[in-house]
Symmetry: C2
Subunit: 162 residues, 2 copies
């Protein structure tokens, strides 16, 4: 696809703050991945991420999120069957989360249970900006908060060793 | 829950046309169910339906759709495991589809591939309002259109006998 067509495709998308909030309430995810990491003094590493997935045929709306929110990128998630390939809009950069994503959803309120995930997510990212993840007591508190996210971590592997 | 609380819960939801379109782009479905029906001269019955599902914890946003869109109702979809119970906002009434749902999404454009489903859905509902489903040639045309919906009917049972 040429740069011109790419631009044309973006121009066709009519996004508004309301649209983004509605779409994210349906399809978005505020998630804090927790990895064991022996290099870290506290033993675990936190990776907060905001993402929104779509099938390939609706990739254009994700592309339009990048200029609208002023951050993030779109990447492919390959699947065994090519027709199951999805695309995902991702924001992991902590400055972008702190200065763009969190203020956006503080101004434009989510209306589903996802509002709760967002609130815990914002709490974790803010605490990380203040270095709470770098000492054991802080990391334990962050872990507790992370476990309350996404339906109380229904699908999450739990770390009991810290 | 008392009527007062119910009202309070609705009032807390801040919906806008943009929010609804974004939410429906993510979670909504325009679908035309096709059933074999020997009582029908043409052998099949078409049931167009617009619906949006959510887990129980986010039921309130669906409740707020009813007054905002001025039609539809919310019903429970029971599951084996009670925590998998979902709620679904449903519009099946043909007048409501014709006079409320279709004009709403013609004014506030969907931005994903769902725009295509909606356009085929609106086509079918409009043709049904003109009685096209009541003769064999018309029903065949409706069936062809219905098969192009929802990823070309990837999950749909096909009828080859009419």
């Amino acid at each position: 696809m040429s740069a011109d067509n790419q631009q044309g495709r973006l121009d066709m998308k009519k996004l508004s703050a309301g649209y983004i909030v509605g779409f994210v309430d349906g399809e978005g995810s505020f998630h804090v991945a927790v990895y064991q990491d022996p290099r870290m003094k506290v033993g675990v590493k936190f990776i907060p991420e905001f993402h929104v997935s779509q099938r390939e045929s609706s990739r254009a709306v994700l592309d339009a999120f990048v200029p609208f929110l002023g951050c993030g990128y779109v990447k492919a998630n390959h699947a065994k069957n090519p027709r199951d390939m999805t695309y995902v809009f991702v924001v992991r950069d902590r400055e972008d989360l702190l200065k763009k994503i969190i203020p956006f959803f503080q101004k434009h309120l989510l209306q589903t249970e996802k509002a709760n995930d967002f609130s815990l997510f914002a709490n974790i990212v803010t605490k990380m900006a203040n270095g709470h993840h770098l000492n054991k007591a802080g990391a334990k508190r962050l872990l507790k908060i992370a476990y309350r996210m996404n339906q109380n971590g229904r699908y999450r592997k739990k770390f009991h060793h810290i």
